[in-house]
Symmetry: C2
Subunit: 92 residues, 2 copies
């Protein structure tokens, strides 16, 4: 599966950090003649609200990007989650 | 931006269909010692609810995949949207 490989290749860069990471990507491909509002930017807070039902997300742990290229528009949310296990474990 | 290239390469395959397409990907990378519930499968209906606030999504227009590989888990929702322009245009 293509995206899994892409995500894993990204992961290697941050492997030493050993935190949990969550990435939400919404990609919209519009046909060239299509009209309609740009709803991806409006969606980001609502997507974060869904995530927050399951995990604690600090506001500064979220990195948001919006990219456009031709008829493709991509909203990307990168979230670093706090580690929830072994709270007494020493961190290096 | 890596993902945009990935998405655009996928797009070429379906270019002849000329529909609008929406893809939502949630990727979770867990550190190897992390515990916690598998919340990605539970999230899919809530993500669809967010999308439905902005666009009409038919139930059979959604393709859902959940992949796991090592400490990566990826939820992928692929949605084909109805074309919203030229409603009187004949469809072939």
């Amino acid at each position: 599966m293509g995206f899994l490989s892409y995500f894993r290749s990204q992961k290697k860069r941050s492997a030493s950090v050993a935190k949990e990471r969550l990435q939400i990507i919404v990609a919209r491909e519009r046909s060239q003649t299509a009209t309609g509002p740009d709803y991806l930017p409006m969606m980001k807070e609502e997507l974060l609200d869904v995530i927050r039902k399951y995990v604690q997300v600090e506001r500064d742990a979220v990195n948001i990007q919006l990219d456009r290229e031709g008829d493709c528009e991509v909203l990307e949310l990168n979230i670093t989650l706090p580690e929830q296990h072994n709270p007494h474990q020493a961190r290096e």
